[in-house]
């Protein structure tokens, strides 16, 4: 202890005053922890009277947590004469007050005492706690921010990738230029696409790469855009390669700034236009070709919008509507159509938007008042987005066609009328011819039958027979003429029923037999007994077969044969053939035989009496049944005529 300048008494007084007036609590404890003394600041702080605390263990004030640490602290005094630590004491009301303790050890009258200054650190603790909380909050916010940042950068990366993909799909290479507009960066694809070494390009401005003779107004505009830091799109020019050839390209770019808004240069994409140029050229060529065709064609070309307003006409179309090509543009289709024709056109044009192409006739009233019948061949056309933008029509002037058609129709009507007159005349005439013939044949047959008494002389009988024969022949002629005329006039009606061809052939052979016998011609019929029935006109069928047999017998010399056969054909049709071993015909004779009255003109007539109508009539009759007549003939060897009834006339067996 150092000696004090003060007297011990005054020192004690000072100490007491200090002890009692100190704002901090002061407490003295012996080594057992028993409170020996404390100042007012201390007991008041913890809500006690001084008397309540003296003699009490300090441990009863201590919170359990800090009480446990006491022995450890005491050991600290081995090396230090004072220690400072934080602890907490219970207030009398139970609340805990954090305190900072400055304890020192001193000897007094041979006893070791602990002398501690106790400072309330509630405020400090609160501040500390607030600080910690603020810190934690800050930390969590930083964490959150970091997360956000990471998310943002992930998104950025994704969008960058997306951008790259899109850019790669729509462009061929990327580039960057510096603030001086010199190329500073090019992707590797630049070389692959242009064949130009990027090293020869880096550091150059774009204008330096362009041909010297390039259009400067384009470049001036571009340079102005660069100076104003404008985004530019599709700057098209040709890069001159080191070998002198050039490559058409399209460049788009966007200015780049840093955070401080300083201009760093441009960045963008480039595209090789070579292929596009080729297809553009082809397109132009095609368009020119088409234009050429439209200019020179004899067909009109008329393109209109959806309101029927003319967009374009070719020279021929302009000629048809009677105005110049340029005058036509903007005029309505309806300026050239009568009210009636307009209605017709309106019903037609309605069908265009749904994509229908069609041909129709319209009569154009030209600007000069001419009426021009036209054939329109209209087709809708679409704009780039696929919507119907109007229609175009190829227009043919069909005046001549109409005239021809009219003439044709007129002559057809005339022909029909003439035919009607002819067939009426024929029908009339045949009746008129037949009536006297009835009398001739009737009376001569009466005399032949010697009804009123005998005929006197044999010569008369012979003449009667001649009259009869000639009369019958004339009758046949008249009947054939009538039938042929009726067929030609389409006036012959069939009376159809299911008929057996075999029985028709049998009956016909019976009729022809006497004539064949007279000419010493053998008629052999071998009809298929299983031949199906035919739906046909029986009388006309008999006429067909009889005609064929009669011709065969007529043109077959003595000792010859006539064969009648039938066949059921693979497709179900049925044929009857009549083959003879007669004189046959060559090609010319055959042609003649098949035309009406052909035989009448031929030299055969005198030898082979007939109407000359037999074959054409037979052909007409089988054709009336939907069948065909087929002739095979060899001059000198014979003729085979086959008539075939079509499948649909063959009656299907019920079995």
């Amino acid at each position: 202890m150092t000696s004090s300048p003060l007297s011990p008494k005054s020192t004690n007084k000072l100490r007491e005053a200090l002890f009692n007036e100190m704002a901090d609590g002061v407490i003295m404890v012996d080594t057992q922890g028993t409170i020996i003394d404390c100042n007012p600041a201390f007991h008041q702080k913890f809500g006690y009277e001084k008397a309540e605390l003296i003699g009490r263990s300090i441990k009863t004030l201590c919170t359990n947590e800090f009480a446990a640490k006491a022995p450890e602290r005491i050991t600290q005094f081995d090396s230090q004469d004072q220690i400072t630590y934080e602890t907490a004491y219970h207030h009398k009301d139970g609340t805990v007050i954090p305190v900072e303790l400055n304890a020192r050890l001193f000897e007094s009258a041979g006893t070791t005492l602990f002398f501690s200054i106790v400072r309330d650190i509630s405020n400090r603790k609160r501040a500390e706690s607030e600080l910690r909380q603020a810190h934690a909050e800050l930390e969590s916010r930083v964490h959150e921010k970091t997360e956000q940042h990471e998310h943002a950068s992930r998104q950025l990366r994704a969008s960058e990738e997306r951008f790259r993909d899109i850019a790669a799909a729509t462009s061929d290479w990327f580039w960057e230029t510096g603030p001086d507009h010199k190329i500073s960066y090019l992707t590797d694809s630049y070389f692959a696409i242009t064949g130009i070494d990027p090293a020869t390009v880096i550091g150059k401005s774009r204008l330096e790469l362009a041909p010297d003779e390039d259009d400067m107004t384009k470049w001036d505009a571009h340079l102005v855009a660069l100076e104003n830091r404008h985004t530019f799109r599709s700057l098209q020019y040709e890069i001159v390669r080191p070998d002198g050839t050039s490559l058409p390209v399209s460049i788009s770019g966007k200015p780049v700034f840093n955070d401080a808004c300083e201009f760093l240069g441009y960045r963008g994409t480039g595209t090789n236009l070579t292929e596009r140029r080729i297809s553009e050229r082809k397109l132009i060529e095609t368009a020119n070709e088409l234009k050429g065709v439209l200019e020179s064609t004899s067909q009109g070309y008329w393109r209109i919008d959806t309101n029927a307003i003319t967009i374009e006409v070719n020279p021929r179309m302009a000629e048809i509507i009677g105005v110049s090509q340029s005058e036509a543009v903007g005029t309505s289709v309806y300026d050239y159509l009568s009210a009636e024709q307009q209605d017709l056109h309106k019903t037609k044009i309605k069908r265009r938007p749904v994509g229908i192409s069609e041909a129709y006739e319209l009569e154009i009233t030209s600007a000069t008042g001419n009426l021009v019948p036209c054939l329109f061949n209209a087709t809708p056309f679409h704009d780039a987005t696929g919507n119907v933008a109007g229609s175009f029509a190829l227009v043919s002037d069909i005046s001549d066609l109409k005239k021809t058609q009219f003439t044709l129709e007129k002559s057809m009507l005339e022909a029909k009328a003439a035919n009607k007159v002819k067939s009426d005349l024929m029908a009339n005439m045949s009746h008129e011819l037949r009536t006297p013939l009835n009398a001739i044949i009737g009376f001569s047959s009466t005399i032949q039958a010697e009804i009123f008494g005998p005929v006197g002389h044999d010569k008369y009988r012979e003449y009667l027979s001649d009259i009869q024969y000639s009369g019958q022949h004339l009758l046949e002629l008249i009947n054939d003429i009538l039938d042929v005329s009726a067929i030609e006039a389409g006036a012959l009606d069939l009376h159809e029923e299911d008929v057996s061809l075999s029985s028709i052939v049998d009956a016909s052979v019976r009729i022809i037999k006497p004539r064949a016998d007279t000419g010493q011609v053998r008629v052999v019929s071998t009809m298929d007994p299983k031949l199906p029935l035919i739906h046909m006109d029986e009388r006309r069928g008999k006429q067909i077969i009889l005609n064929l047999l009669s011709n065969a017998v007529k043109f077959t010399p003595e000792g010859g044969d006539v064969f009648v056969t039938s066949s059921l054909n693979t497709h179900g049709s049925v044929s009857v053939s009549v083959r003879d071993t007669g004189i046959g015909m060559d090609k010319d004779e055959l042609e003649k035989a098949l035309s009406a009255f052909g035989q009448v003109d031929s030299g055969l007539n005198r030898k082979h009496e007939g109407t000359g109508l037999g074959l054409p009539l037979t052909k007409g009759l089988i054709e009336l049944h939907g069948g065909i007549l087929d002739v095979k003939s060899d001059k000198g060897l014979g003729t085979q005529i086959t008539v075939t009834f079509p499948t649909e006339r063959v009656v299907q067996d019920a079995n």
Partner: protein, 120 residues
């Protein structure tokens, strides 16, 4: 009493032929050139057979036959149509009109008499 036959025929020579042949064979004939009064004639003479030309200038033989067949007192008299096979409607039309038989013009006297004999 000889059988009476009513003949409708516009052609004078044909009529003469029919009349001569039939009367020679013992028939009695009643003649009409246009069939105008055919119903009266049929009622009056009650013929055993009517020979009917089909192609007549005014009313056709088919229409006359229909008129006859429509009258109860006359419908049983057989009608023998005489025609060329050149009629519109053909044989069916002849039978459809009510004719009982048909004989082709021009007639063969023997065939004709044979047909007449079947109905008289």
């Amino acid at each position: 009493m000889p059988n009476t036959i009513l003949i409708v025929e516009d052609n004078v020579l044909n009529m003469k032929l029919f009349v001569d042949v039939l009367e020679n064979s013992g028939y009695k004939t009643v003649q009409s050139v246009d069939g105008k009064n055919i119903l009266e004639l049929a009622r009056e003479h009650a013929p055993g057979l009517i020979i009917m030309d089909i192609q007549l200038p005014r009313t056709s033989g088919l229409d006359l036959t229909k008129m006859l067949k429509a009258e109860d007192a006359l419908k049983d008299i057989p009608v023998l149509a005489v025609t060329a096979f050149s009629l519109e409607g053909g044989i069916e039309a002849v039978f459809a009109a009510g004719c009982d038989d048909i004989i082709a013009k021009p007639i063969n006297v023997s065939d004709f008499l044979e047909a007449v004999a079947r109905y008289s």
